[in-house]
Amino acid sequence: MAERQSPLGAFFVPGDHGNAAAGVGVTLRERKNLSIVQVTAWIDTIPAVLTAIGSATGLVLQNKPGLGRVAGEKSVFGFAPGRYFVVGATPDLELRLRSAISSDLGTMIDLTHGRTVIRIGGPGSEWVLSKLFAIDFSEHAFPIAYGRATLHHDIHANIQRIDDETFDIYVFRTFARSFWQTLGHAAAEVGYRVE
């Protein structure tokens, strides 16, 4: 299979960048070879869709705003009532979801080619992301595995917290290079490593 090109292109430069005085504050990398599917339930089928997502992925969710689950490369999170991002490293994810979720239960759209996923980790991640997004990144307000939909300079982004100091940011593929550069500028203060 042809390898999908990264939209980050020549702006993805592995190595250490920015202020190195206090070590590496955050680590940035692009998560590749993922399948990303948005699933939307009808207003009265949310519990059934959550059950179907669980049977297709093994990640069982309750119907609670923003709730998510993470297991290795797989993840799922809600970002609106009855709407979920389902992410996995297997190319048949959409197929498995389609066999579990009929049009009576909801709809889905494959966003694999429309989103770029950037993972930011390290002790400075909350600080760096707070420069870009007007939401509370502290762990009590944004618990592990939860998802958020928000804006960066009027551009939509979805964010999931992976652990206490790691986040996945889902940005539009066409804005990914611009966002990557902005993220680098924001991270320069604490020093960042691109892997």
Partner: protein, 95 residues
């Protein structure tokens, strides 16, 4: 101004788009009452106090909300998903 979205929690007003007066009552589609349609489209009372409004959380969950806001102080007394408000009205109540 901070609007507390029922799904996303408190968010800055930059994430929201104002969508107008939520107190208007649309005439029946078959109505030919020109005065009623004119009032629906153009007339606003501009109360200056507590007011029900539609807002779209375009920068978050993309849900339509019904917000009750004091037009003088911008204090917000209630926020609900518009679809919940509509369901409540359809059930005979009023949110």
């Amino acid at each position: 101004m901070i609007i507390k979205c029922p799904y996303c929690g408190p968010r800055d007003v930059i994430e929201f788009i104002y969508q107008g007066d939520a107190t208007r009552k649309r005439p029946e589609p078959a109505s030919t009452d020109q005065a009623a349609w004119n009032a629906y489209v153009y007339d606003r009372t501009n109360t200056g106090g507590s007011h029900r409004e539609f807002w779209l959380h375009g920068g978050g969950c993309r849900q339509h909300l019904v917000v009750t806001r004091d037009m003088s102080s911008h204090a917000i007394s209630s926020v609900a998903l518009a679809r919940d408000v509509a369901a409540s009205i359809n059930d005979g109540g009023r949110a």
